[in-house]
Symmetry: C2
Subunit: 359 residues, 2 copies
């Protein structure tokens, strides 16, 4: 299993690289610290890559797609078929993630890790098409309905994490320098809220939101479904793989694996919104040092997001009332992180520019 | 005077363009409203330009540079010479604004509207050089020390506003589609805080910050200098040109004029941090309809910034603890606003993509 072998290669970042970067930043033609978080981003990239002049030229957002048996309980505003329809939209370049990834100069890789649909019908092959690259690693054809039993077996959950690790290893080898996470899966705020409730100890009501835009009645059903699923499956909060398998989802496992793989390969990984952050919480619980490699893209409108970010200890980069997922927030945040790195790499020093220092 | 003739051509944006844009956004393959503020930005651009498919291909940040007589009072951490040294740094492409404008694909135009230095010494001519275009429109060679009298005459203040209007008109004619504001001027948080105190009614202590990074003792001096200047000059809060002339600055007037000119030309204008927002407050007080054309780039670390944003009624786009000025926040915010417009223009509709709508 990729998961077990890779964990030993993950360590916290080395503070000496942060100090080195700080020294350089303080010599640039600006009051010290006046570029705020942009300077923090540069320091984090230097410390992750252990490179005093890192580059982020090859960028990729992974959109993991999976279906959810719990959609049968009527927890979403959209029919389940939208998951596979949106995968086709990703491949045609017409979705939000395509637009924002193009804007950020990032590639989109769509990973079918659990969609309940045979894409052979549309002739989708593991090849680059208009909008992105389609990769088939179907571990389940949709999870099982967690209100009636475990969403996945423990073995399936580990295989999902392994898919994410495989993606990280493969794209690290291909020379990619920064990863973004993304998700597609109708009903997937339901397992994400379940994970958040189990692993943060908050009440289900506190961490359950409106997803794609459900009304009050559907929200009440959603809360009850999550409560029932937790009561029935009794996931163990101190065993993240148990939580992922019983009340999680395939794409959430893939995202967790990507983050673990990113940390092992010393590659910065930008966590998108609520579903991605649920995956990040799984990764963080498996190996807390993964946190050093994470950037939180944004503060989602989805109510439970803030709770998970606080649990991991991440401060979001953007706050734009986004709640789409797909990796859209991650794509946009790449541009802000890059801005920080460019400040670090391209600004003149006081000496070079002949500018007087602080009196 | 450009100011008087241009005001009649500024009107509030037409709500019918916002409705038109909303209808299109609601037909794109995402839950309605799920791209949050990105959708708001697109609607605002459509309503400003009165164009259902606008483009932001030509972008420019104007960095207005001016010196301040009040620097003699020891209110800044840096010597006054840094203003002109930084102008040279802008022209060599080594400053923060150069890096971030390049990142955003925007040009930088540096306007000497009040620097106490003869750039002929360095052979700077009104021509494009490495980092930006240098334009000489020197209205004053530094303002006078406002602790001893009015910083500028009323005529000088109006001429500064006219320079900003001239820039807006000229760059509108050259086909530029979006403007950013920026400033350079050692000690210029002092007049900006004075403007904020006079025009918002807050105490000087509440709206005076640390600027480039002054210590407690210097902060106390700065507060006293601002109080003295207001007591001596008695600027009239209901006469923004009076406030600008007595306790303002040349670059603040240029920024106010640029915003007025942007509104008259139906061009969106991104307001940078504290100094730019003081200029925006002058513009807004002269003509409140200018607000419809403004985007607030970010929430500055400078303490008075929030107060002015609230007074105008602007919500900042980014929150990255920036406090450099120059137009750095505006440059970065351009990328986020562009993201919103690209969502609007490039995403597929439900019909085009064959994706099922909300059940």
């Amino acid at each position: 299993m990729a998961l077990e072998t890779i964990l030993s290669s993950i360590s916290a970042v080395n503070a000496k690289f942060i100090e080195h970067a700080q020294k350089h930043l303080d010599n640039l033609t600006k009051p010290q610290g006046s570029l705020g978080r942009l300077e923090e981003f540069a320091k984090q990239i230097v410390s992750i890559t252990e490179n005093s002049m890192p580059s982020l030229d090859k960028k990729v957002v992974f959109t993991f797609a999976g279906d959810h048996g719990v959609a049968d309980e009527g927890v979403s505003a959209y029919p389940k078929a939208v998951t596979h329809q949106m995968v086709l939209n990703f491949m045609n370049g017409g979705a939000g993630i395509n637009v924002l990834a193009r804007h950020a100069g990032a590639d989109v890789v769509v990973v079918d890790i659990g969609v309940d649909h045979d894409f052979a019908v549309e002739g989708l092959k593991p090849a680059p098409i208009v909008g992105g690259l389609f990769i088939s690693r179907k571990i389940v054809s949709g999870t099982r309905n967690m209100r009636k039993g475990a969403a996945m077996t423990r073995d399936e959950a580990i295989k999902c994490i392994d898919v994410g690790i495989e993606m990280a290893n493969g794209y690290a080898k291909r020379g990619y320098k920064i990863f973004g996470t993304g998700d597609m899966g109708i009903a997937n705020t339901t397992p994400s809220s379940a994970i958040a409730a189990v692993m943060t100890g908050k009440s289900v009501e506190e961490i359950t939101g409106r997803g794609t835009g459900i009304n009050d009645d559907t929200w009440k059903i959603k809360v009850q479904v999550i409560k029932d699923a937790i009561a029935l499956n009794r996931p163990n909060p101190s065993d993240p793989v148990d939580v992922l398998s019983k009340v999680g989802g395939a794409e959430i496992g893939g995202i967790a694996g990507l983050i673990i793989g990113a940390a092992a390969n010393r590659i910065p990984v930008i966590i998108d919104g609520f579903i991605s952050t649920a995956g990040a919480l799984i990764a963080y619980s498996i190996e807390p040092n993964t946190k050093d490699y994470m950037f939180a893209a944004h503060m989602s409108q989805e109510v439970g997001h803030k709770t998970i970010l606080e649990k991991i200890g991440l401060r979001p980069i953007l706050d734009l009332d986004l709640r789409l997922g797909e990796g859209t927030g991650a794509a946009l945040a790449i541009l802000v992180i890059e801005a920080g790195l460019k400040i670090y790499k391209e600004m003149a020093t006081f000496g070079e520019a002949g500018v007087s220092e602080k009196g």
